[in-house]
Symmetry: C2
Subunit: 223 residues, 2 copies
DNA sequence: GTCAAACCTGAATGGTGATTCATGTTTCGT
DNA sequence: ACGAAACATGAATCACCATTCAGGTTTGAC
């Protein structure tokens, strides 16, 4: 969620050969964007290749020029979303100087991304059966960034002595369900907020801060 | 997860008319059990009615004697799992006298249930598209129990002043991902533990305890 | 023992959708 | 301007499945 510090090589779909011509690249990108949208609204199984190609504005057969099959397309979509959400969090927290700042910025970026790309939740959850490898890679890559952030924060004495791996999974879980409840569900109910309500965000930050702070109360030293 | 204090009426599939005869009840129960297993291992879409009836040891047509269709069966399975996991947590934490005890017992029960019923995770996640109502009802009913537990703990001064709703969703999320990572994933990798490893459990408890404790350090007063 | 209600059954129906392929069109280096 | 590589296409193929139904079997109240 924050403490982002992406380093290791990309965890997924490496051998993507982009089409040689501009036209081909555009078509491929259109298919990918259409797939993200259709997978998110219809679900993997109701997302027929016909729907996707229609949304992309290309013929049915064209799909198979760019992807071996539906499953590979799905993997690619998960991979793309994963890369983008990590980049968003990483960018947001890169300017921060303290752990608290980084934490806030990272989570804000995560919720904003969630709001802008409702596909993230629905698609990752479906991956359980469609592509378990993709699902694990998604969660693992995010947690890895978090862990390394926590480690360096601990080295600086900004975080108390707690297993960083467990803490990272716990925090990611917290962010995930909060996002589901206040971003995804609210959106589906009609609204289109840019993130979670302020009081929820602040409560979550207070929760995290208290859980991680070294020992004496460091609460509320900012904002 | 804990602080369980279930009160309100059941949130889901209410009007279940049980078959009048013993034989019918047994058949229905067999179908339900088979469905849980097949949904969990194959996923909703690959879980054909044929597979389910075969696993249940009944003829294909028999299915439609007991359920209007596949979707209704799925709802029923979610409802059952939800009732059982809440009951397990509620029972486990009912004997506790302090919030900390209740917390530990509740989470332990949750992880144990997760270990014994891998279906819980996979089925609930699929509900996103198969039956969003069922999914929401599942999460909401668990969180509601948690919230009321937190509220009464706050009244007794055992929990600091934090929004109980936000805290509940955060904690449920933490438990969910920890369970996914250390129970579900480990199981799929071969092992069949009865819950999360001790050090993970303790780290999570320490995390939660610190996040919720009133103010002065209450850490590690037990165990 | 009788009979209606409750149960059970699996072949047939109807629909859907991923993937293939033979054929036409566009792009681009030379 | 030319030709080969890229790209585009949608009808046809093939497989899978939810659901229906018409007819048989079992149960249990009397």
């Amino acid at each position: 969620m924050n403490h982002v510090d992406i380093n290791r090589p990309e965890p997924l779909g490496p051998e993507v050969i982009l089409p040689p011509t501009k036209r081909g690249q555009r078509t491929r990108a259109n298919l990918l964007a259409a797939a993200e949208s259709v997978f998110a609204t219809s679900g993997y199984h109701d997302a027929s290749i016909v729907k996707i190609t229609e949304e992309a504005g290309v013929g049915l057969g064209t799909f198979y020029v760019y992807f071996p099959g539906k499953k590979e397309l799905f993997d690619q979509v998960v991979f793309d979303l994963n890369r983008r959400v990590r980049q968003a969090m990483s960018e947001a927290s890169s300017g921060a100087t303290t752990r608290l700042e980084a934490e806030r910025a990272g989570f804000r970026a995560f919720f904003a991304f969630t709001a802008a790309h409702p596909a993230l939740y629905s698609i990752v959850r479906q991956a359980e059966f469609v592509s378990p490898e993709a699902m694990r890679a998604h969660y693992t890559s995010i947690v890895d960034g978090y862990i390394s952030g926590l480690l360096s924060a601990q080295a600086k004495g900004e975080v108390r002595d707690i297993d960083p791996t467990v803490a990272s999974w716990a925090l990611m879980g917290a962010g995930e369900l909060i996002g589901m409840r206040w971003v995804q569900w609210e959106q589906q109910a009609g609204g289109r907020p840019e993130g979670v309500p302020d009081h929820v965000f602040e409560a979550l930050m207070s929760f995290i801060e208290t859980a991680l702070a070294p020992s004496a109360s460091v609460k509320e030293e900012s904002v």
